[in-house]
Structure formats: C-alpha cells, structure tokens
C-alpha cells in the first residue's frame, strides 16, 4: 500500500518535462535567441522551486520511491538555485559562448531532475537512476565546447571512472538487495534477521554503494577524476558539479546513513579511512597546484573528508545521529555556496584567464575590488575562518565528532585544515598583489556591458551574502536542516 502523494513528483516532473519543452522551443524555427531559451529554462526551475515551496511541510512519499521531507525540501531548493545559478553563469560565459543553446539548458534541467531523485530517493533504484541521470547530463556538459583544451579528455576521464564507480555502486545495490530482499531503504533494516536474509551481503553491498557515493563526492582514494574534470570543464559546469551534484549525493548519503544506522558501525573503519585519506591527500595535493580550479578540486576532496567526519559515529543506538547528520548537512550547504562564489568568480574572469592558472589572476583583486572581496570571503570560508559559513561547518562537524569521541580524527582533520590555509592564502595573495600585466580591453570585465556580467554578478553577490549569512545566522539555518 504505497502512499501516492503527488507532491514529491511535481518538481521533478516539471523540470523533466520542462527540459523536453525547452528542447522543443529551441528547435522552433523562428526562435534563434539563446537568451530566451535560458530564460524559459529559468522559469521552469523557478516553477519547480515554487512547487517545492508550496508542497506541505510534512514528509510525503511517492510510491516509496522518492519522498520529500524537510531536509530534502531545502536540498531541492538549493539544487534549483544551483541550477539557476549555472544557467546565469553559463549564459554569457566566455568559454561556452555561442554554445549555450536549448540543449545545454535542457541538460541542466535534466541534471537538476536527477539531483531531485537522488537526494529524495527512498528506493535504491531511484537513487541509482537519479545519480546516473545527473552523471550523464554532467558528462555531456563537461565536454561542452569540445574545442576547449582538455574538454574531451575531462569528459572521457569522467565517463570511464564514473561508469566504473557506477558499476560498483550497482553491484552494491544488488548485493544489498540479495542480502535483504528489498530495495527500499526503510525496509532493509527491518528485513534483516528475517528468513533467507544475509547481513554480510548487505554490509558488503553497503560498502560498495559507499564507494559509488565516495566517487561522486570525490573522497579519496576515489577522487582523482575531480581535478581533471574541474579543470577541463567550463566554470558554470564546475560550479554545478561542486554545488549541486555533490550536495545531492551528500543528501543521499545522509539519508542512507540515517536509514541504515544499524548497519553503519560495520563500515566505520571504511569511513574513517576515507576521512583520513581525504583530508590528508586533498590538502597535500592542493598545496602546490598552479591551477586554481585544480586547487579547489583538491580542496573539495578535503572538504568532503570533513563532512564524512560527521558520519564516522553514526550507529543504531546513538541518539546523536540527528545532530551528526545535521552537522554534515550544514557543512554541505556551506560548501555549496562558497564554491559557487569561487567558480562564479573564476567564470567571470575566464575571459582574462581562460586556463585558470593561479598566476593569471595576479592583481585581479586590486583591479576588481568587489570581486576580490567576494572571492576572499569565499576562500576564507573554505579555509574555515570565522564568521563565514565554512567555519561553522567545521565547528559543528568537529563538535559532533568530538562528542562521539573521535579525538584523533578531529586532530588530524584540524591539522590538515590548518595546512590548507597555505594554499588558500596563496590564492588571496595572488589576487591582491600587484597586477603583472595589463588586461586587454576586450577581456576587461569592467568595460563590458551589463548584460554580460549581470548574471555572474548576481550569483556572486547572492552567494557571497549567503556565505556570510549562513555563518552569522547559523542558529537559524540549523533549525531548517
């Protein structure tokens, strides 16, 4: 007797069908302005957000396939916002110029649909399809404008590794199913212990699912693709991967941990290993990167290490699960907004420095002070300096982990966080040192029309404000999560 609440379906349906509509509008012969397509796509996303907002606040499930609970609601809003931001950034992006057509817009919509499914999945199959939907759309988006250096390579690297990890995850799902007889997350713990079930298989399956998740979150040692993909794709797509794709996966992980908390202790060791590897590897690899996007990619590896820190202590009988998950969700949220700022800035400057090499940004903070400060706030937030969101994310995660007795891990994590400051400072110093050369008039964003910079500016200012507000009003934000 599956409940058939339709509210959860409205938003994914809107975006999915909206994607199709956008495609159709795009092929309409008389309509050749890409801006209009992006506009329509944005409207679709806004409608989706409306649908989410108007849905009743109680948790509502559809066929035990997806369910919209309070956490997901905010997640969905975030993804919608992320999708919108991606569109705004991509619209006049230098690297994508002329290629942001109905196809790109529909892919963004499809990817957002995928994240809806993934984050709200109560069925392993839904999660798998959602993940693959996102991954597939992203895969195409990465290689958008294939002439760009590294675009194809990034897409192929992503495709191969993502398919491998997808297969591993699939295998995990199958094993979980084989062990428990159910694909429903909420049913698996109940089934266990019953006839013909087998806990070992479920745990092995869970671990393999975790590998798949770890891949999408880019947690070491499954993180290698991230740097290449960040570097190879255009900034809007990078922003989407970082701020939307990963967060959707994170929400699914939190959901998984919540539902399967009884099985979680069995894989604590796995997660601890991932945490240690991620924070160490990510920060070390970022230390000397000469490319800003790669640097942020490795920092992302470390950040998800910190997030996972909150999950090292989930267990069936602990009352702290909710707090742990909340801390992780907060961290994810803060990560999403601060990365949005960074990549929006990178995107805005891509006319000046298409390769995103760090050296190319010399003096940009002085030339464009507001941009510089926005980036500074984002980078400081990434570094965990108060009163930004990044700091409170770390604070909450560390507090929760310490509360569960993970002193050693927290110390490792905080040392790693301290070392991360080295490369964050490099970014800031480069941005605010004396400019090394003149910017051509054509690339100078101060000289370009409002239309070109409006989108990114909007995204940057809103998400910078969000970085600060999420930090300063952390108390309020926590009540939402």
């Amino acid at each position: 007797m599956p409940s058939t609440d339709f509210y959860p379906v409205i938003a994914p349906a809107l975006t999915g069908i909206g994607g199709l509509l956008v495609l159709l509008i795009g092929v309409w012969p008389r309509l050749k302005d890409a801006a209009l397509v992006a506009f329509y796509a944005s409207i679709v996303l806004l409608l989706g957000a409306m649908a989410v907002l108007l849905a009743p606040h109680e948790a509502a499930g559809f066929e035990r396939f997806i369910s919209l609970d309070p956490v997901n609601r905010h997640g969905w809003l975030l993804f919608t916002a992320g999708g919108l931001a991606t569109l705004l950034l991509a619209w006049r992006d230098r690297q994508l110029l002329g290629e942001v057509d109905e196809q790109f817009c529909s892919l963004v919509l499809f990817a957002v649909t995928g994240t809806y499914l993934l984050s709200a999945a109560t069925n392993l199959l839904a999660a798998f399809i959602g993940m693959e939907l996102t991954a597939l759309s992203v895969m195409a988006m990465i290689a958008w404008q294939p002439q760009r250096k590294g675009a194809i390579e990034a897409a192929i690297k992503y495709a191969i590794t993502a398919t491998v990890s997808g297969s591993i995850m699939l295998f995990g799902i199958v094993l979980m199913y084989a062990g428990s007889g159910s694909l429903y997350l909420d049913a698996i713990p109940g089934n266990l212990g019953g006839e013909r079930t087998n806990e070992t298989l479920v745990i092995v399956g869970l671990a393999m699912v975790l590998v798949g998740i770890a891949f999408e979150l880019a947690v070491a040692p499954f993180h290698c693709w991230l740097a290449d993909v960040f570097q190879g794709s255009s900034s809007p797509v990078t922003a989407f991967i970082a701020s939307v794709g990963k967060i959707a996966m994170l929400l699914f992980l939190l959901n998984l941990a919540d539902q399967l908390s009884g099985l979680w202790p069995a894989i604590h060791g796995v997660i601890i290993g991932m945490v240690v590897l991620s924070v160490v590897w990510g920060n070390l690899a970022a230390l000397r990167q000469s490319n800003l996007k790669r640097m942020l990619a490795y920092s992302s590896v470390a950040h998800f290490g910190y997030v996972l820190l909150a999950l090292t202590a989930i267990s069936g009988d602990a009352d702290g699960n909710a707090d742990l998950l909340q801390a992780a969700a907060y961290y994810g949220l803060s990560y999403a907004v601060m990365n949005m700022v960074s990549f929006a800035v990178i995107g805005l400057l891509s006319g000046i420095n298409p390769s995103a090499d760090l050296e190319g940004y010399r003096g940009m903070g002085r030339r464009y002070p507001l941009l510089g400060v926005a980036l500074a706030i984002a980078v400081l937030s990434l570094a965990g300096i108060p009163p930004t969101a990044g700091f409170f994310g770390k604070l909450f995660v560390f507090t929760q982990a310490l509360n569960q007795g993970q002193l050693g891990l927290v110390i490792i994590a905080s040392l790693a966080a301290a070392s991360s400051l080295f490369y964050y400072l490099r970014i800031l110093v480069v941005f605010f040192s004396v400019p090394s050369n003149e910017v051509s008039e054509e690339a100078d964003i101060a000289l370009q029309g409002d239309a070109v910079v409006m989108g990114p500016t909007l995204v940057i200012s809103l998400s910078t404000a969000a970085v600060l507000l999420i930090g300063l009003c952390a108390g309020t934000v926590l009540t939402f999560i």
Binding site: F110, I129, R196
Partner: protein
C-alpha cells in the same frame, strides 16, 4: 536438474572465458565478437535462471543495440590499428594483483562461513515484470526515459561537433602541425 546445472554453468563459463579473452585479443573487432558471445551466453544463463524477459532484453539491448554501436564505432574509427597486450609493461601488474587479491577476499567472504539457502529457479515472466515496471516503478520509467533523452541530447550535440569538425579539420590540422 543436472542438465540445468550443466548448461547454466557452461554458459557462465563461456561468458567468463569470452570476457577474459578481451584481455588478450589484438583487434577491437575480435573483442567485440568475443563480447557478443559472452553476452549471448549470459542471455542463456538468464533464461535458465528463470528470467526470460531479461534474457530477451539482453539479446535485444546488448547484442542488438550496444554491440552494434560498438561495431559501428569500430568501423568508423579512423585508426585501424591493433593493440597487442603488453605484459612487459610493468604498470599493468599492480592492477592485476589487486584484482586477484580482491577476488580472493571476496571468495573468502562468500564461501567462508556464509550460509545461503539454495533456491530453485522459478520463472518470473515478462508479465510480472511489466506489472511492476508500469505499476510501482512508473516514476522510474519516466526517469529513465528522461535519462535516455539526456543521453540523446548529449549525443546530438557531440555528433554535431563531429560533423563540424570534419568540415573544417583540414586547415586546422595544418596549423596544429
């Protein structure tokens, strides 16, 4: 039952062996042939397991669509080279060793004290599958159709670029060289 077992394990063995031969063949085309064989063998295994629908799907989707795609690409591929396995390349070994280790572990895990009731294959026909698919999993079907659409969009886009590239590749190639 003996026969069932014999055929089932035989088809499994064929699948494994044909797949493994991918490791050694020199030409992609040969690989595609081996792969097709393996898939057909697996289709047989599916059938024997009591899943005729999936067996059909295996034939249609894998053999009929995917492998054809492969073959097309191989035919279209401008680089008709052969790729001998280079075992002297030392970078290959760590991966193989890891895989063997993993298999050993899995073997130990599965057969080391794990008890699972034996089961007799029961036919679950396409009707049951269809009911589930378009009943409970209707949203999944919608989602997978969206996924196919997304794939289609991507393919369209890349195909367009392939075309465009061919149109102007000559001058660019000159420059590149």
């Amino acid at each position: 039952m003996m026969l069932w077992h014999f055929v089932f394990w035989l088809s499994c063995a064929v699948a494994v062996v044909c797949s493994a031969s991918l490791l050694f063949v020199r030409k992609p085309m040969h690989g595609a042939v081996y792969l097709t064989t393996a898939m057909c063998a697996l289709a047989l295994a599916f059938y024997l397991l009591g899943a005729p629908f999936i067996a059909m799907m295996q034939l249609i989707l894998y053999v009929g669509a995917i492998m054809v795609l492969f073959v097309f690409v191989i035919m279209l591929s401008p680089l008709q080279e052969t790729f001998p396995l280079q075992l002297q390349d030392r970078s290959l070994w760590p991966g193989l060793i890891l895989l063997i280790l993993m298999l050993l572990e899995l073997g130990a895990l599965l057969f080391g004290g794990l008890q699972v009731d034996p089961t007799t294959p029961q036919i679950i026909d396409s009707k049951a599958v269809g009911e589930l698919l378009f009943g409970h999993y209707k949203l999944a079907v919608e989602a997978i159709s969206t996924l196919l659409l997304a794939a289609l969009v991507g393919v369209m886009y890349f195909a367009r670029h392939l075309q465009r590239h061919q149109e102007r590749k000559l001058p660019e190639q000159q420059e590149a060289k």
